[in-house]
């Protein structure tokens, strides 16, 4: 857990440095920060670690079937080998007289193993109910699957992308509401012994109670296309709610708007947008500020603050030529506070400043952009003001010592009153 957290923070820090320098190093299309943690096996011979409340039950049922199967298998192969040796054709050996059927015996070996099968069935079914029927006191996490990444939406409005993984709290039961934006995926966490397909057009649910802090693997286990084997992430189980909050919140209270913008970008945008000129699912965002882009419908649009805001709220309205319509991007209408939009704008502009400073188009454009942002409480902080520790932000980690509480009211200080998770699940029905 600590590893993952440290790794995540280190990643954010290092990206910060590169962003401040020249164009950020190209983030690989399918970066998997968890890969290094799974170079060797943790767990027993047959299984990964047991990290959920029902993992041990699954394993012991597996081992029960294993030993009973081995018993039968040894009997069958043993008898076969014994017969071949004992009754092999050789001079002087003749077929001995033996019955060609024995109804009692045959009924016995048809019916008796049936009792074992009933045992497996009953045990397996009760285990299945335990894996699928969630207790009442779960927190709900929305899991959105798309080619080839996962996004996780927490009850307090935070969300994390594939790169930073799913963050849970030890011993807090959580219900997952799965949905898919495109094709079938399957949400598979071996250490939890849990798997459920995400099906486009409907919601599927499952639940888990993590019992062990640490970092575990999350796979997509239903074939979903070219990047199927790259669609993996990690599950980080934290000891306390505060640690989870620190790892999932979108911004820090004590950091500059640029840094917060970058963190938001990494969490919310980097799944589809590179901080370079290279395109991903969506356009790369470096160097686009102030650029005149040709749209799908033939018109042209200058990328400025208003276009930025429109793209965020109504992604399908104007789509840059070469990208599919309707846009694959979800609307962030109601999901971002004005502060957050500002920070994002500051960060994305910084991506262009670096590029365009050579061409002298940047400064007037930027100046105009900052001045032209009305009605925003933080507008006067200015785009490049790095020391602006926003007055109303406090360090989030400290707010959440009461781990059991649903951190909704904390979140509402900074975010919209509608947590994106609820919005996703409610709006679709």
């Amino acid at each position: 857990m600590i590893n993952a957290l440290a790794l995540f923070l280190a990643q954010a820090e290092s990206a910060e440095e590169t962003a401040a320098a020249a164009a950020p190093a190209a983030a690989s299309a399918a970066s998997d920060p968890f890969a290094d943690m799974f170079t060797e096996h943790h767990g027993s011979y047959w299984f990964p670690e047991q990290a959920s409340s029902y993992a041990a039950d699954v394993d012991s049922l597996y081992m029960l079937i294993f030993w009973i199967s081995l018993f039968f298998f040894a009997g069958i192969v043993g008898a076969m080998v014994y017969f071949v040796v004992k009754y092999r054709a050789r001079p002087g050996h003749k077929v001995e007289k033996s019955p060609s059927h024995n109804t009692a015996l045959e009924i016995a070996w048809s019916v008796l193993p049936g009792f074992l099968l009933v045992w497996f069935f009953v045990d397996g079914t009760s285990g299945f109910f335990e894996q699928r029927i969630s207790p009442g006191d779960c927190e709900e996490i929305n899991v959105v699957a798309q080619q080839y990444q996962w996004t996780f939406y927490y009850p307090d409005g935070d969300s994390t992308p594939n790169e930073s993984g799913l963050h849970l709290v030890r011993n807090r039961p959580v219900k997952f509401i799965l949905e898919s934006k495109d094709v079938l995926h399957s949400f598979f966490i071996p250490a939890f012994r849990q798997k459920q397909d995400a099906v486009p057009g409907r919601y599927t649910t499952t639940w888990v109670k993590p019992t062990k802090a640490g970092t575990f693997r999350l796979f997509c286990s239903e074939y979903c296309g070219e990047g199927h084997s790259l669609m993996k992430s990690g599950v980080v189980v934290h000891e306390t709610e505060a640690e989870r909050k620190a790892a999932t919140q979108w911004e820090w209270g004590d950091k500059s708007p640029l840094q917060n913008g970058e963190r938001l970008f990494k969490m919310q945008c980097s799944g589809c947008h590179n901080p370079t000129t290279e395109k991903k699912t969506g356009p790369g965002l470096a160097g686009i500020w102030g650029k005149v882009e040709e749209m799908n419908d033939g018109t042209t649009v200058t990328v400025d603050d208003n276009y930025f805001r429109q793209s965020l709220f109504k992604p399908s309205e104007h789509i840059v030529k070469g990208f599919t319509s309707p846009s694959q991007m979800t609307s962030f209408d109601g999901k971002l506070t004005d502060d957050q939009i500002l920070w994002l704008r500051i960060y994305i502009k910084s991506l262009s400043n670096v590029k365009e400073s050579v061409e002298e188009t940047t400064d007037p454009d930027k100046a105009g952009a900052d001045a032209g942002e009305p009605g925003n409480a933080n507008g006067d902080n200015g785009g490049d003001d790095k020391n602006a520790a926003d007055g109303k932000n406090e360090p989030r980690a400290d707010d959440n010592d009461d781990a059991g509480a649903n951190a909704g009211d904390d979140a509402n200080d900074n975010k919209s009153s509608v947590p994106p998770g609820d919005d996703e699940s409610g709006g679709g029905r």
């Binding site: 597996y62 017969f83 071996p190 693997r217 070219e226």
Partner: protein
């Protein structure tokens, strides 16, 4: 003892006039209506498909020797496993034993001249050629990356050639239906007068049960594939959620065919093994009725368990539990067969020749394949194992360890009948051992990595699974060499093997009463009906070097008066 002069004439030498030389030239084969030639052509076809798809498998395994990219991109890997799966399933396993071995053996086991509809039979073969060609061309030109299951909605959105490939599979479905109809009618109408249902060889029971599935289930696949094409081309909104459809419905349709199809693949194999065990134990098969009815039970229950492919798909919990229960019930008839085979070996006289080695290999591998099915039928365990390498290993143990092993065993069993030549038995056994050993090294590690959480259809994987993948790759190449050796020994025998007479193994079913190779009309004499497992009726004749039915033995003139039978105590 000596054979009657008539028998000497019939069985004394490898037949000079047989179906192989009855006529010659390309068209005499291409337009033949002879079930034996069609069977041979099918055999060449499905073996080519096996080798081709086997090469694809080796390419996959070679790529997976490391967890990072070796020589295939993700997209190429996906196309490769699709090629491997689709060709193995549609072009090899489904037609393998029924269409190749079944075509040759089924009419002869009935003492018949041909199948009921010889033209339909030839048509079925050409549909196979056309369908396979279409499938292969589609996949090799524009690629196909859906997996052999064509799951929606991915198969609707991918840009690869789904329409052409599904059309190929659709045509192959008809090939399969035609074979099924043909066998069903042949067994029903062309049995000799006194051959009742319970005097049928068990291989025919298995083929009959298979034919029922082929006829009832394959049309569902055809309709499903047509709907998929319609969905792709016209967006009719059945499977595609973007148009109000339900992607899980496709899975129901698909598995409603494809689970019974699993039994199309394995039942004929079980039938072959029933024959092999009996002949090479030289003993009447134990529990004939139970084996016969277990084939039918498997065929019928096989229609009711498709949902176990969908335990994690989001289908309702109640349905899931019901499917789990019925799935366990299929285990029973399969286990019954294994127990009966063992009881047949008990107190027999077992000849450990190549076909018997394959039969033992079958019991071992199918045993593992069947028992690991219990893990997957158990719901809570399946939630963990579903779509992992555990499943991959499980169905390869059944499909390859079962069906391929049975096919090879059956080929070695009937090869002298088909070509009148004997193979090198020792090399045959070496081939069998390599197949067995290579197979286990390939697929056993996959159980372990599957249980540890390695998902299937992954082009790249985490380092913790490296050692298992490497073992698996090494095993796959040994398996490949074993299959090549096994087939090589057979091919060599056709041209260089010593000639053999009609019945070298002492089989009691009717096909062994023909000369080897059989004549164009199969039987040149009146067949002697007897119980297919009454091996006591077959007598070894030193002069002719073959088993002949005791009716063909000259009545011995007793040298002294026969002893007075002692009354039973």
């Amino acid at each position: 003892m000596t054979a009657t002069p008539h028998a000497k004439k019939l069985f004394g030498h490898a037949s000079e006039h047989n179906y192989l030389n009855a006529s010659s030239g390309f068209w005499s084969w291409a337009l033949t209506l002879d079930h034996k030639r069609i069977g041979i052509m099918y055999l060449i076809g499905v073996t080519s498909a096996l080798l081709l798809a086997g090469v694809f498998a080796l390419i996959l395994r070679a790529e997976l020797f490391t967890g990072t990219k070796s020589f295939l991109t993700e997209q190429q890997y996906n196309q490769m496993f699709t090629l491997h799966g689709a060709i193995m399933v549609f072009a090899f396993i489904i037609p393998s034993i029924p269409a190749a071995l079944g075509n040759f053996v089924l009419p002869m086991m009935l003492g018949a001249k041909d199948v009921a509809f010889p033209r339909l039979n030839l048509c079925s073969f050409y549909l196979w050629v056309f369908g396979t060609g279409f499938l292969l061309t589609a996949m090799l030109t524009n690629g196909l990356d859906t997996g052999w299951t064509f799951y929606t909605p991915y198969s609707i959105t991918t840009s690869t050639s789904v329409v052409y490939a599904t059309f190929g599979a659709f045509v192959l479905g008809f090939s399969s239906i035609f074979t099924g109809i043909n066998f069903l009618v042949t067994v029903n109408t062309m049995r000799p007068a006194k051959m009742t249902w319970f005097r049928l060889p068990l291989f025919l029971w298995a083929l009959y049960a298979t034919a029922i599935i082929q006829i009832l289930a394959t049309p569902i696949l055809g309709i499903t594939l047509l709907l998929l094409i319609a969905e792709r081309v016209m967006h009719i909104g059945i499977f595609d959620p973007a148009y109000g459809g339900d992607p899980v419905l496709f899975q129901h349709f698909f598995w409603f065919y494809s689970h019974p199809a699993v039994y199309i693949m394995i039942l004929p194999g079980m039938g072959v093994i029933s024959e092999l065990i009996a002949v090479y134990s030289h003993k009447k098969i134990f529990g004939y009725t139970f084996i016969a009815f277990s084939s039918v039970a498997i065929a019928l229950l096989g229609f009711l368990v498709w949902g176990h492919h969908m335990f994690t798909s989001g289908q309702s919990g109640v349905v899931t539990v019901i499917f789990s229960a019925i799935t366990f019930s299929v285990a029973i008839p399969s286990a019954v067969k294994v127990f009966n085979w063992l009881a047949t070996m008990y107190k027999g006289s077992i000849r450990l020749v190549t076909p018997m080695c394959y039969a033992m290999s079958f019991i071992f591998l199918f045993g593992i394949g069947g028992l690991t099915g219990l893990f997957l039928g158990t719901l809570s365990v399946d939630i963990h194992l579903h779509d992992t390498y555990f499943v991959v290993a499980h169905f390869h143990f059944v499909m390859v360890g079962g069906t391929l092993t049975a096919l090879l065993g059956g080929l070695y069993h009937w090869w002298p009948k088909m070509f009148g030549r004997m193979y090198h038995d020792f090399l045959g056994r070496v081939g069998c051992f390599l197949v067995f050993a290579g197979f286990n090294v390939t697929f056993f590690p996959q159980f372990v990595m599957g249980a540890r959480g390695m998902p299937r259809r992954y082009a790249r994987y985490d380092d913790e699974f490296l050692i298992f993948h490497q073992l698996s790759t090494v095993g796959a190449f040994v398996l490949g060499i074993g299959v090549l050796l096994a087939l090589g020994v057979l091919v060599y025998a056709v041209f260089r093997g010593p000639r053999v007479a009609g019945n070298p193994f002492g089989g009691a079913s009717l096909e062994w009463q023909s000369s080897s190779p059989p004549s164009f009309h199969n039987f040149d004499h009146k067949i002697v009906l007897n119980d297919p497992y009454d091996f006591g009726a077959m007598v070894w004749d030193e002069d002719l070097q073959t088993y002949i039915h005791r009716e063909f033995v000259m009545p011995e003139v007793p040298e002294k008066p026969a002893p007075v039978p002692t009354p039973r105590s």
